[in-house]
């Protein structure tokens, strides 16, 4: 990478990995980079307009990356939403009144994933309201430009690993004792305890 990255956020589109933001030497920076895994090449891309780390990233329609929330320093979690246009290499902030964020509690180290043509699920992390890990779950409707509550995680949790989809279910490896599972058609959360970790003799 061109810059050191820590406490950053990460997402992938096809054979590219996007690394967003960094926290170095007690300071947050908006540096962003993309890695071409086939060519083994890193390239700097536009910085975020509002530098922050621990944002919830979501690839949308294979050409956009949404960055929700995150922290701007060690004491402030913000409700900033930015979207990166890959083809234009531009970040744009989506601010009120363009978007209704009144029902949203932003977070640090939460996750996001596109679940329908127009909807992005946002969940978990450290709440901006309480500064505690929470079970909040929200849906950002990109067409209506509003965020609504959508149930809640079974257990409050923050995440440092990106989620994945398999057989209509979204799975996220929690920082707690669970893998969190969301049935996309049924819109229900459940958990799988990690307690059954198998240690192979290798």
């Amino acid at each position: 990478m061109n810059y050191p990255h820590a406490d950053h956020s990460i997402c992938t589109i096809q054979n590219f990995i996007y690394v967003i933001g960094t926290f170095v030497g007690n300071q947050v920076y908006g540096y962003c980079e993309v890695y071409d895994t086939q060519k083994d090449k890193w390239k700097l891309i536009a910085d975020m307009r509002v530098p922050r780390t621990g944002t919830s990233l979501c690839v949308f329609k294979n050409n956009y990356i949404f960055a929700f929330g995150g922290r701007v320093d060690q004491k402030r979690i913000v409700d900033t939403i930015e979207v990166y246009d890959i083809s234009r290499n531009v970040w744009q902030e989506i601010a009120a009144p363009k978007v209704d964020k009144s029902n949203w509690v932003p977070s640090y180290m939460g996750l996001a994933h596109q679940i329908t043509d127009n909807e992005i699920l946002l969940f978990g992390g450290k709440s901006a309201a309480t500064f505690h890990i929470f079970n909040g779950c929200f849906v950002f409707d990109v067409e209506k430009m509003e965020i609504r509550e959508r149930g809640s995680l079974v257990n409050p949790c923050s995440f440092m690993n990106t989620p994945l989809v398999f057989n209509h279910n979204l799975y996220a490896y929690g920082n707690d004792i669970y893998v969190h599972q969301y049935s996309i058609p049924e819109q229900k959360w459940s958990v799988i305890p990690k307690s059954s970790v198998v240690l192979p003799n290798t």
């Binding site: 990478m1 990255h5 820590a6 990460i10 895994t37 329908t116 043509d117 690993n161 970790v197």
Partner: protein
């Protein structure tokens, strides 16, 4: 082989829809019982048409969504697994989605998995670990490591 897998996926999808229909049927049964009494039926007749349509749409949307994006993150030939590297340790935890089994594996790398590092699996299933902070050296990393599943090496 591919055809068989496609057929199996179709069966899974149809089973899933069947479950939705059964649940939906139970939901309507519940409402039907609610309206058995004439007084309740009268109340329904008095209800604003727009409210009825909105409630009905809401029930349908909640129970019979067809617009969801269920494309799996990895292709069918690839290992379907969640992973998590443990900070300040030399190990990775894997959760295999098809079998439901957890595994904890040792990882070979120069130092422990750096604090505040992040990792991701691309759609080919390859796992990469990026950046982080090596506390005992006081160094923030520019490094990116590819995880070699077979030998358990981050290099």
């Amino acid at each position: 082989m591919a055809q068989q897998r496609g057929a199996e996926e179709l069966i899974e999808t149809l089973k899933h829809y069947q479950t939705i229909f059964i649940d939906l049927d139970a939901e309507y049964e519940k409402y039907f019982n609610d309206y058995e009494k004439m007084s309740k039926l009268q109340r329904l007749l008095d209800k604003d048409t727009n409210d009825i349509v909105r409630d009905f749409t809401d029930v349908i949307e909640r129970n019979l969504r067809v617009d969801y994006n269920t494309k799996s993150s990895f292709g069918p030939q690839l290992p379907q697994r969640l992973h998590s590297f443990q900070w300040n340790q030399k190990c990775v935890q894997l959760y295999r989605l098809k079998t439901g089994l957890f595994e904890k594996k040792q990882v070979q790398m120069t130092y422990d998995v750096p604090l505040y590092s992040r990792s991701i699996a691309t759609e080919t299933g390859t796992i990469y670990l990026t950046g982080g902070y090596v506390k005992h050296m006081g160094v923030y990393l520019k490094n990116c490591y590819r995880y070699d599943d077979l030998f358990g090496i981050l290099n």
